[in-house]
Symmetry: D2
């Protein structure tokens, strides 16, 4: 089969090949899935560029990809998942957890300390086929378009980030309008947020946000460029928008120190910060800990992965109820050979999400509706 | 001034007069409000018919009305509410609480055991003017239409009932599609509920529900007549709709024993019942307590009034974010003289909500936009 | 091996034999455990007397027992539980769940609708050996005395019932001072409850409660016989004890309609009822639903089994921190042959808990300290 | 009357006088209280030394003191608090909030942005008499010893810090064993914490912790000097103590960057940090934000003041249930003249809490038991 392989510890095309690989052989507890669509993620970008932060986690050669959907091709002999059948339309949670630790055994597998990630520690889904443990397979309904099925892992991050708080009637800020920030905005609007504030450092991103709101006839979006605008003025505007109270919930998607401090500045007394973004380095300095953390009485929560599997359940229910996130796919390709081109588009922020169809989108659609 | 007065302990027109009364004199801590619009509530119906259940609470003569909006006419000398000014567009919480008990002092005034209700224990808002304690006054923005401002007390019940749980992506059932059930349905849809199931015993009510969903292009409404349909079949359909899992949250709006037991039948394992409806008598028998309460591990919560004032804050935020409930007003009158007629319409279920404008709707609109 | 077997669909000794059975053969995912101690539970009593309520769940012949501790004898070939070794001191969760349903997959296995219970639907632990799925095995530390290890399943019910609410500084009532009620009282006191109120219909039970409190030098126990005392007076006393506020949390352990209504009478506005007790019949009538459920704004939660496995984690942590529940064991026997005698003691309420040691207590102690 | 006055913007005795002042005149909504006992707090120390951090908040001359208890001397004419009478034994919340902002009106007055603190922004309680708004007065029972009544404000901080989480069966760490850390340890032990870990940089403080645990026969205290010991070794020991899982809840009482990072290192995946301590400067650097905040999925909550008034309700209930914190008072004085001496003891960490009795302790006891 064809697969996109991190072939050598090098940056760019020198370290990544689209080449022939053997089809993986599913073990007795595994399911083999024919990949219909796979999406490029920020982690893939780090692998592609062989960023120092990722080197400890990946040992070439390794097949890329942890966001995908596809069709069940083969089911391992010991697998028992009621109703799971060859041909089913599925995705999978690609964090594989130990099942034995204190976290796993109390329903918190998403923070298992022994997590392995397919597409990173093991071979992933940028290929014609991928194998995953049966327990991690998620059956999808036809309310999940293939282009959305392709990035459920990322959508799950957005759902998990917003899942901390009932957003109906809340003023929600999203710092960083990359792909997951964009999904979080869509979830907030869908969930009845009264105000959605988006901040980013790219006018292109903010334009995308405004176009989305306009297409939805959503009037309560406020988008700010926190690089080019005067921060004090932006803060004042946000105070005004929120009647002097401040923002109820911030979804911090950027990992930037500036954004984290900005978030602490604009959140209301007793507000909530849901922290997903990863900083470039290790350290983050909170500039005014006394005033913004203690005296404000805020709550900050780190978000990692997706809850297994309540985030998946909620994500599918949101999609079923009409959550529209297909618009974040801004580039698609009909062959894995286009991976370099797709990565380039993603890298240059020309597309929030890039989806590749190993067999082509038409063929995948035909299988879905077969 | 004109006012609608429960004048004698009699049923119907014999016990209710529209007559001249002195304008109330606000005390030093009160605000006098010129009533723009007032809505008829189920409690008013009990007073009108002098139902046994209400007799202990009302001593004629008593001015009706605890759902209204209006404009500040006069502010008591000791009142200190920043920014509150004569002419402001306002509503008010008509539950007056003691402020001293353990509940009041821990932020749970809505369950103060010494609550007094204006329009019941004291004179209410079906009049040209009403006085209320300044602390209970709520300023409104122009995103609250007068017709909606007229029934915020009832909308607050609906918000409080749904406030128990994040509804985004949830399967929500509403047993009883009266006015508050209708508002709860609107809130659920607005908050991203994946499925809204409505049950009632009136085809007219269910028709209204279906028309609402159709107008909203909301596809996931399922409405059932639990009187005429076979209950077992309805339950089976609900199981199918929810993929065999059951309903996540039931908002019980009817108080009927049958509905409460039906709710317990359709709720999922570990589900939630938010109980607002009052039974005709005192007792309710749970038919299968072992299976439906204990073995299901459900949670049931009684709902009373509105949280002071977080429910109000959330309600206004929901209206600001576009929650549409104006459609529940199905009859309006331009004079308090039409109270008997309005009550008739309400009584015969011809209108979910009936709103009276003491000065006429046009005059009230003129004041609002002055 | 010897085992206590429900041998025929008959009441008492006619339907229960202590007899030789084959040692169970563990499957590849199972663990075989040598039973050190097993405790008699209320469910066993229903099986013993062949009560109508239990007949659908048990098909003789069936080995009794779902409360026990012991030592790992053999580990199935596919079992992977880090650090689990032959000889380990263990207990087990005897609810076996499907692992696939919406509840199981969201960390709520305790409300899996396909639960099978060993000692009921499959052979249990009143035997020299028992096999259980490896995932359900719980390793114990030496801070768990054998006599306590013998009834962790029941203690888990008590922990789960009290786990709904932080009890520190709370007024807690326990309606029904049987074995699980007694454990709940111990947990409440250990967790800093400010007041513990116990109600029962047996003076013997109340005497036990008072003796326990006295031994602990716990001064805030109040024990009431709700059969012999005037209920109105008891309610008044409870109002006085709680400064007129009422009880914060009720753990309802009896399933009696009278107790459930009493609980609703004494709980404070906005209070919490944790409902574990099963009624004799199916129905429970709430006498004053309007006043006690709706107007009080109470929350009621049904409790079933133990959370897998957060209840177990908490239970072990409580035992480790010094929770003392060994005193509820009021009768022990050194042979399974004494099962009839033990059941008699339990049946006549002469002992809150009865523990049998298949090899004798001394031999079991020797193994523990080997 | 005598009072301890910050008389000039100077450090130490030069800026603080014990001198005659007029008895405050209570307004119509105030209560005048005869001070029985008052305690020295860390904030008083900052005022005493005229630390830069405090200068903006205090304008000399100003009477010190926001921790005290006493007896009602006079009640303002408009005051309505049922049962409040001259002679009552009381304390008071010294944070005076606006009552009108979004926080105040939703039961979150403790994070009112307009809070005024008596003893800082207005005259306080290191005097023979103090006046406070009636709403802030708290009646005490005789289960509150005078020495404890003297520092309920500080105890309230400890209760609020620990109130975030049910501590029963939890592994709790307390970073910083000053007075509030000591109280938090007592609360944790009283509430059934399975393990209490204390860290500090002073052997004297750790000795006090160990003596306390020994006096209580509490076996699960682990106290570490994080200055003199090897941090990596301490972390390893804490891992071992918690079976490799880590600490469930950290109460961060020091405000030190090192302690905050240490807390993040030892907390378990998904754990909770309750943050009360104030840093010396403004900024705090989180050294490993990616690993310790995001990947750990921790929750961090800033704690300010005491919830009005649920923290007070809980605090009194804990004292009533036997919580013992009197031992933190390690120095008492029978005259306000001893303020300089008391401050010295507090300053040199010779006493966790220092209590002054304006009339002498015996006289105060006599009034209490009158």
């Amino acid at each position: 089969m064809q697969a996109v392989v991190k072939s050598a510890p090098e940056d760019g095309a020198k370290g990544t090949e689209i080449r022939d690989c053997p089809v993986p052989e599913p073990g007795p507890d595994d399911v083999l899935i024919r990949v219909a669509a796979a999406a490029i993620c920020g982690t893939d970008k780090h692998i592609y560029h062989w960023d120092p932060s990722i080197r400890d986690s990946v040992t070439p050669p390794r097949i890329y990809g942890h966001e995908f959907c596809g069709f069940v091709e083969e089911i391992g002999e010991r697998v028992h998942r009621e109703g799971l059948a060859v041909g089913d339309y599925v995705s999978a949670e690609m964090h594989i957890v130990c099942g034995e630790c204190a976290q796993c055994r109390s329903g918190n597998g998403h923070i298992c300390v022994k997590t392995k990630i397919y597409g990173l520690h093991e071979d992933g889904a940028f290929a014609e086929f991928v194998k995953v443990p049966a327990s991690n397979v998620i059956r999808l309904g036809d309310y999940v378009p293939l282009r959305v099925g392709a990035f459920l892992d990322a959508l799950g991050n957005a759902v998990h980030t917003t899942q901390v708080m009932d957003l109906a009637g809340k003023a929600v800020a999203i710092t960083g309008f990359g792909p997951i920030g964009a999904m979080a905005a869509a979830i907030a609007e869908h969930s009845g947020a009264s105000i959605v504030i988006v901040t980013d450092v790219s006018d292109h991103a903010l334009e995308t946000a405004r176009r989305w709101a306009s297409n939805r006839s959503f009037k309560n979006l406020h988008a700010f460029n926190v690089r080019t605008a005067n921060p004090a003025e932006v803060k004042q505007q946000i105070q005004d928008i929120t009647d002097g109270v401040g923002v109820d919930v911030v979804c911090e998607m950027s990992g930037s120190s500036a954004a984290i401090n900005f978030a602490l500045d604009i959140v209301r007394m007793g507000g909530f910060l849901s922290l997903l973004g990863l900083p470039a380095g290790h350290a983050v300095t909170i500039d005014d800990y006394t005033r913004n953390v203690i005296f404000k009485g805020v709550t900050m929560q780190g978000i990692i992965g997706r809850r297994m599997y309540s985030t998946w359940q909620r994500m599918l229910a949101l999609l079923r109820s009409g959550l529209d996130v297909e618009w974040v796919v801004q580039a698609t390709f009909d062959s894995l050979q286009d991976f370099h081109e797709g990565m380039g588009r993603f890298d240059r922020h020309e597309a929030l999400k890039v989806v590749l169809f190993p067999e082509g989108e038409k063929a995948a659609q035909a299988r879905l509706h077969a």
